[in-house]
Symmetry: C2
Subunit: 247 residues, 2 copies
């Protein structure tokens, strides 16, 4: 069961949005036709990010190198072909700046009269970025396994008014090669959490192995213990977002 279904079964309304340029959200394909027609040079085509199975294996930390797994790994590697089927080319290079997803997430939160925003990986910091566009509908921020960019003091002050949870899995230093540097991502988010706390905010880093929860991959919502992690998140929401509302 995915987290979306699990959360619904726990009585929480869930909206599962595809970010602009990916899947059921639209993208601007006109540049491809313009190059095809000869009016624009090929160098202006978007760089379409296509992760191979081999690359995904280490980026997602299923094991130290392609074909190997960690002894305590939580990802159900026998189902890795099902994950591969979910991988689609990344057309983010066709996006305008700013990314419309941020404004749209903020607007959805307003429309829902308050929502907890959650993001993972490429979309991991979208909740914070959406809150910086318009924090008025954002009741909580949950960011999982991503890099945290440097924010300005005024931006940190905005985030500090919203309960914030960051979560990372295991084996951050244990994969060889690949474009992702999980340690530096983790450190950037530790710094972010500390900055929010220093501004008086309610921010928490859940670094799972430090809590005794071992072996989680980057795709932790698909790991064997995914429901346990979902419960951690629900408990955090109840204690930090709902409690704040009750006060």
């Amino acid at each position: 069961m995915g987290w979306n279904e699990y959360f619904v079964r726990k009585g929480r309304p869930v909206y599962l949005a595809d970010q602009s340029s990916r899947a059921r959200s639209g993208f601007d394909g006109s540049i491809i036709n313009a190059v095809r027609g000869g009016s624009v040079p090929p160098a202006q085509l978007p760089n379409v990010l296509i992760a191979s199975h081999q690359t995904a294996w280490t980026i997602f930390r299923f094991g130290p190198t392609f074909g190997q797994t960690f002894a305590d790994g939580q990802f159900p590697i026998e189902a890795v072909d099902e994950l591969y089927k979910q991988m689609i080319p990344d057309l983010n290079a066709t996006l305008p700046n700013p990314n419309p997803t941020l404004k749209n997430m903020a607007a959805l939160a307003v429309k829902l009269k308050g929502a907890v925003l959650m993001g993972h990986s490429e979309s991991g910091f979208f909740p914070e970025q959406a809150a910086l566009v318009d924090p008025s509908g954002v009741k909580g921020l949950i960011s999982i396994e991503m890099g945290c960019p440097e924010l300005q003091p005024a931006e940190i002050a905005t985030i500090a008014k919203i309960p914030t949870l960051v979560m990372f899995g295991d084996h951050l230093s244990d994969v060889q090669g690949g474009p992702a540097n999980w340690n530096s991502n983790y450190e950037s988010c530790n710094k972010f959490v500390q900055q929010v706390k220093d501004k008086g905010g309610d921010a928490e880093m859940m670094y799972l192995p430090k809590m005794g929860i071992k072996g989680n991959s980057h795709m932790l919502m698909q790991d064997r213990n995914s429901n346990q992690l979902a419960d951690l998140i629900l408990t955090w929401i109840d204690g930090h977002v709902e409690k704040k509302k009750a006060r």
Copy 2:
């Protein structure tokens, strides 16, 4: 409410699949990067089909021309911007031949130990084409608003073993211009239905205005009377697919 939710609420298990190359199904983006890198000429780029709002209006038969509606039109035109948000560029030109969707639909039907396959518009004849790949899991075929290609006699004989429903909405001759010729699509499907019947098959054309149901657009699952049409389909399934099973 969409038909997927409506059917589930009526107790029918529903699988809503994105066809290969679109939305949450993958596509082969490598050709775009190859052209960008200069190793393949721009003319080999896929022709990305991008329907403008103006084109969609008449193709989907919301009215005779862009900005006008039919007096009895069932599409909730006040929500047309929500429909526009659902439109994504069509990457079908990146597909291999045969289209993997057909084999995959047939395989899903087998995995489910029997399924009614339904398609609409671009995917409207996919159910029949999937059944021609492997009919063993296909309990019924429902095809809505598409063109019916010419089949070989042996193919018609295969289809004739499976209950088949075809549905068309209203105003097939009432739109001006645009790339779709609804009348010729309708006629091609009338011929298909007759050919299946001639082979002893259980095939039915539901041409809605002939049944007294007026004003339906091409997007009839989004029309105001969409639940009425869904009920027609469920009644057809019960009378033709489930009844056949019971015999």
